[in-house]
Symmetry: C2
Subunit: 216 residues, 2 copies
DNA sequence: ATCCGGCGAGTGAGTGATTACTCACCGGAA
DNA sequence: TTCCGGTGAGTAATCACTCACTCGCCGGAT
């Protein structure tokens, strides 16, 4: 057994942090029901009893994880800036890049899906912090571009969901379903943005009778 | 207690069928680890022991479900037909319609996600039967349209994934994350198809230098 | 007609293992 | 001495799974 680390006493805060770290990995990999408190303790290098000194129940530990893992939104600043310049391509690339980039931890995606599927009470909040911000932001941007006349009139929220859907689906296929992706990552983003921007711009291609029912 | 049904003896096949039915609902709702064999037995109206007369293990029952729930592909015929007529809009609408229509059982989507997340060995096959057929089909169609010159050159598989991604994401938001959808269903489909078709057609909107790196 | 014997559907009452969680206790630093 | 981080050894409950058994039905010998 190689248990070289964590022999020493740690402060309560340090312990709690490394405990959350270990638990996050396990919950993301095997879900709430699939993870035992014994496993968590072993992964954190402590006894099972100590886990319950920090969190009263297993569920409380899980809740703490969902509550803690909020996206750091330095990204939103960059988007805001590109939005002011009306740089469509860059706005979409930034959002797609964040959601699709392979170096962004796939753990959160799994955690999000698990919590939603298992119906955890904090799932909504987790979803709000991790997904909703993105398409609310994007929807707002699309709305302004529609008002400009740069994009054709359509439901901006629906359009935002559609774009993020493409991109999230790509991550899903790769990380959850294990579909191999042969093209380099930024190549893929570029293609997605290409398709989508051309799909949104004001000039419609009107082949035959296209009934374009759009409210708002 | 209202246990009016299933007091009588049933044939092995009938039992097995109703057992699978009951188990499917439960596995989809709570996942493999979240469902107990006692629950399954109770839902099927039989004793727990009888469950194990039909399936040697809980996992075997789960495997039987994944193996059994294969999509009936009467839909693919309709798509094929529209594809021959090169009716782009109808091809995409058919695929989107199937994947997004609210009357199509959400159970399968949950089952698919659970099996993938929990890493079940039959997940791949289940995914292949339920998802892969759709975007392989769509990719083939897109490829022919690219060859025709009707669509601009791009990776057809990537494009197919992108479109189905939009549509699956929509179901995900609604059925898994509980996001309310205020627009009627066929209105949404129409918008998605609008965006996507315009994004694919041959005339690019070329704002500035658009590097369009496409292989194949 | 009646008896019989085997068979398959069905079950109650368990089995050991594992679960989340508790408690009495330890040892080093202040 | 007194906290406080840390633990070993539990506990009751629950888990998947088993076993010995009953019941009703059907086909054939009497």
């Amino acid at each position: 057994m190689t248990r070289t680390t964590q022999l020493s006493r740690q402060s309560s805060q340090e312990r709690q942090a490394s405990l959350i770290q270990a638990a996050t990995t396990l919950f993301a990999k095997k879900g709430f029901n699939g993870t035992t408190t014994k496993e968590i303790a072993r992964a954190a290098g402590i006894s099972e009893a100590l886990v319950f000194k920090h969190f009263p129940t297993k569920r409380a530990l899980y809740a703490a994880i969902l509550a803690e893992k909020v996206t750091v939104n330095e990204l939103l600043g960059a988007i805001e800036e590109s939005a002011k310049k009306q740089d469509d391509r860059r706005v979409f690339t930034l959002i797609a890049g964040y959601r699709i980039r392979p170096d962004v931890d796939p753990t959160l995606l799994r955690l999000l899906l698990f919590s939603a599927l298992e119906g955890h009470e904090l799932s909504d909040m987790f979803f709000g912090k991790h997904h909703k911000v993105f398409y609310d932001h994007l929807a707002t941007y699309i709305q302004t571009r529609v008002n400009d006349g740069a994009f054709r009139p359509l439901d901006p929220l629906l359009a935002a969901r559609a774009f993020i859907g493409m991109v999230v689906h790509h991550r899903l296929l790769h990380e959850i379903f294990g579909v191999p992706m042969d093209r380099p990552y930024d190549d893929t983003v570029s293609t997605y943005v290409d398709i989508f921007l051309q799909g949104l711009v004001a000039a419609p291609h009107t082949s035959g009778a296209r009934k374009l029912r759009t409210r708002i």
